[in-house]
């Protein structure tokens, strides 16, 4: 069903990772993603994987959830894996007509696949342990310097919050409309491509209409409460950095140094 799609994937909990300041989590996640690409060899990647394993365990989110998030990119990974197999030097392992797989190709393919998986896992840790509101709050705070460039930071953050807030609502609405049309015999599963696109009309139009209705209602409600944007607005939930955040920053820093060390001391893996 539609409801099974994980978008707002927040997994409530009270683990160490959950308690980190969302700003720190975003910064660290960003650093990790950069360092996944800095890690140019398997040794460096091993350091990242070690870090990942400890973060995954610390987060207290069931591993099955992480596996689910990997499933979403399985196709892309498989695709790049196969492509990479055929690019690379070294000795030939297998060949058939014009196709040739080398040991270099295999190691490249594995390397890239692990990279993509790590990328997804790190960002999953962020979205699993941080509620969407925390996330946008933190982004708003982190983007504050952009105000100098006249970027409407608060408005952007507000739009993101509203969009995130309405994802589950619209999914629920979609579910309801789908059920209502199915009850009138709408056939959503069978038929050719054009047939299926056509069968979406009875769902999309009501969904569109109701989205506009909700938008009008929300705008009205916001105006009634004198919402006028970010100027002079205070926050109910203030973000605070704590000792935990400092510790997290130090530990992550050490791992990054480890990756850098590997990058300089061992040869690059991609050939």
């Amino acid at each position: 069903m539609v409801r099974d799609i994980t978008l707002g994937q927040y997994f409530p909990g009270n683990s160490l990772i959950h308690r980190l300041d969302p700003r720190m989590k975003i910064l660290i996640t960003f650093a990790f993603i950069v360092f996944i690409f800095v890690a140019a060899n398997f040794q460096g990647l091993a350091v990242m994987l070690l870090l990942m394993a400890s973060v995954l365990l610390l987060s207290g989110v069931p591993l099955s959830q992480y596996l689910k998030s990997l499933k979403a990119v399985l196709f892309i990974v498989a695709f790049t894996f196969v492509l990479n197999l055929f690019y690379g030097g070294g000795t030939t392992v297998w060949s058939w007509r014009f196709m040739r797989i080398t040991d270099g190709g295999i190691s490249n393919a594995v390397f890239v696949a692990v990279r993509i998986f790590s990328l997804i896992l790190f960002s999953s840790v962020l979205t699993f342990t941080t509620s969407p509101t925390q996330l946008t709050d933190a982004l708003e705070r982190l983007m504050k310097p952009l105000k100098v460039l006249h970027v409407q930071v608060h408005e952007i953050a507000m739009m993101m919050t509203i969009a995130l807030r309405f994802v589950p609502t619209l999914l629920e609405e979609t579910d309801k409309i789908m059920n209502a049309q199915k009850a009138r015999g709408a056939d959503l599963e069978s038929g050719g491509f054009m047939q299926r696109v056509k069968s979406l009309i009875p769902i999309l139009i009501p969904l569109f209409v109701s989205s506009f209705r909700r938008a009008y209602d929300l705008a009205m409600a916001m105006e009634c409460r004198c919402y006028h944007g970010g100027e002079g607005r205070t926050k109910m939930k203030q973000l605070h950095m704590s000792g935990l955040d400092a510790a997290a920053a130090v530990v992550s820093g050490l791992f990054c140094v480890g990756v850098l060390f590997c990058a300089f001391h061992f040869p690059a893996a991609l050939r």
Partner: protein, 288 residues
Amino acid sequence: MPVIETKELTFRYGEGTPFCKTAIDHVSISVEQGEFLGLIGHTGSGKSTLIQQFNGLLKPTSGKVLLKGKDIWAEPRKIRDIRFQVGMVFQYPEHQLFEETVLKDVCFGPKNMGLSEDEAQQRARRAARFVGLPDELLEKSPFELSGGEKRRAAIAGVIAMDPDVLILDEPTAGLDPRGREMLLSQIGAYHRERHNTVILVSHSMEDIARVADRVLVMNGGKAVMLDRTEKVFARGRELESLGLRVPEVTKVLLTLREHGCPVHASLTVDQAVEQLLPLLKKEGAVRG
């Protein structure tokens, strides 16, 4: 003869996840052919989930749903046929309108059944008449109608499929008193004229008392009462403990009865007057 039967029907949402919740718990009931069944229960009691089992929108976790004696999931590929036989009007059905004209929208169901254009239109016009939708509205866009008219158009869209069982989930929610009154009497008229089964889910005990032959009470996913309307509402105290009420007039009579007055629970004001007037005359309170 039962038209819908459930056998030890159980349904759990999100099986195998931490959010698993039992919405329906071993429900075994039967709905008789041609009856008007009221379905009550407080929010979250499993009413909506139960009716979605009846037309195969949800698949039972265990147990069976029988339609005219046949398991509806015997052939999962033919579940669409079940949905034509068990018509379902959801809460706020006006949100499902999508076509360019009201007529086309009402035709959506019949056309999905594979009927010809003519046949579908014929049925749509007949259904529109049942719900009191004037002919001149049929060529308008459904989005131009008023709230009450939209509701009627949406209900017509289900009635046009001519289902053997019509299920309505709170059809009068959000309508003004006159709109409620009209819609309810039209549903009653439809039921009398077509002799098919109607299941009405409602929070309004007055509505249920007026139209239902029998009442099914749900609580915590279980079917706790299924009996003739007056018998169910005579158990006022029990209903109140389930977070429900009885119609105001029934409550008055039940209270009188508790104080030793020789009356039985009536469902409508007229019935109550019939009982009370002779009593009052006897006491000399009213001069006949």
